[in-house]
Symmetry: C2
Subunit: 312 residues, 2 copies
Amino acid sequence: MSDPVFPRLALIGIGLIGASIALAACRSGAAGHVAIHSRTAKTLERAEELGLGDSYHADPADAVKDADCVILCIPVGASGTATEAIARHLKPGSTISDVGSVKASVIAQMALHLPADVHLVPAHPVAGTEYSGPDAGFAALFDNRWCILTPPPEADPAAVARLVDFWSRLGANVETMTAEHHDLVLAITSHVPHLIAYNIVGTAADLETVTQSEVMKFSAGGFRDFTRIAASDPTMWRDIFLNNREAVLEMLGRFSEDLTALQRLIRYGEGDKLYDLFARTREIRRGIIAAGQAIEAADLDRPHGKDDDEAG
Amino acid sequence: MSDPVFPRLALIGIGLIGASIALAACRSGAAGHVAIHSRTAKTLERAEELGLGDSYHADPADAVKDADCVILCIPVGASGTATEAIARHLKPGSTISDVGSVKASVIAQMALHLPADVHLVPAHPVAGTEYSGPDAGFAALFDNRWCILTPPPEADPAAVARLVDFWSRLGANVETMTAEHHDLVLAITSHVPHLIAYNIVGTAADLETVTQSEVMKFSAGGFRDFTRIAASDPTMWRDIFLNNREAVLEMLGRFSEDLTALQRLIRYGEGDKLYDLFARTREIRRGIIAAGQAIEAADLDRPHGKDDDEAG
């Protein structure tokens, strides 16, 4: 095992992502000492029971002391407050990063409090599950997943290179882009999909013509996938929508416009145009499979090993 | 193995569902002789190569001759034409059924042509994959899935009981409801979810600010699930939307109304209300898991065995 990228790593927040970083850093030796803080006493205690790190700190200032890298692993709406609490205690020359699904807003919140001698290199590992809390973490979460870094133009190249190295050793493929572009890309690949999943599950729950028990029973027809997405952490997702408002509203506007056009095709029975759209979207799935982000055989719960919930 | 429910079964159409019925009927002994028709010579040939049945017929009239049960396994828009082609050749006292994802329209199309001495018992197995064609079929497709029967009020109870028996032996759990109620239930649990999956994949493909390659690369954030749904058979789905128009438009109207309200919450930063919705939808996922239609550990492509594509 090669030397740790960061002899001392501090994790502020120890939910699904924080716990997975701790486990993956331990597995790979990418960090030496791992110091953990959670503002919730019970969570911190649980992290210690699980043996996720090397030291556990109720005070975030203690956790970040002498750390070569500090990573905020908290809902994006808490970035400013958390940074303020640790800013004065950060080691000169150290790196501070995060794992937020929104970047421009998080950078603005954090930069406000940071001293000039600390390197801010924001990151977003595009990985997760619908589970939350320290028990949900696992070392393989980032394997072969993308981690997007959004360093500001003035970022120190050496600090960026160290964080690239760190995430690579955690198993991720690293990509760099601007914060603004990240927020647009994620709005369409993640935020709007989550929003419409939350929305349809809510619509179904409110129906008076179809019972909730029927919705649950016959969910294998497609709805089931949406419920899984709509089971993700409510606080995290509230913060994402509030902090990536412009990009989400822009993509949502396009989605709604397209949906209205599609609705009209159905109303007027335009079969050929429906067919053309459905054939086109099939090609995109093929592209994703080719890009290696999805595999064809994927379900443990079916003997055939094929995805099984696409029926009408 | 007990006696076959149907000594002679005819399958009109041998795509994913037809082929799976053939294989499941063979596995369970629920049918004796299985006669297969496809209007596409190549598909019929492939079915024979795969050994899916006992006889293969280019003429549907030959396939249904002496059959105790005939099942249409074709896109719902073709139900009328297919029924017309076989109606005069059906055995008196035999059962005719289908597997369509829409019921009221299919019943109307079929009933028009059927002689009075044949029992019409429509069925919809809520199972499938995003693959199509005879090669996609597998015997376990219906195991522990729901099959919904929608017999008309005047249907012969003995004929209905035989079809319940048949589908049970194919592995399915059978439920009975009216065609109209079926169409409403499926509109929300399947048709609208498919429509919005098709729609967002289309929206993403048309963006000029985010490249298709970026959409594909970062699809693990949630979009990936939608592409799988949007890869389903275009002809089948075109027909579903055209034939369940009223229920789909009704459910889609509610979905859009709710989405507009959600969009407004984001625009005005109403965090508490967003949180409440997201917490509520999480409960529905728990209900579905409890109902046994989804399991918590479901992905072969992740060592941890957890769903893995929920990240922001």
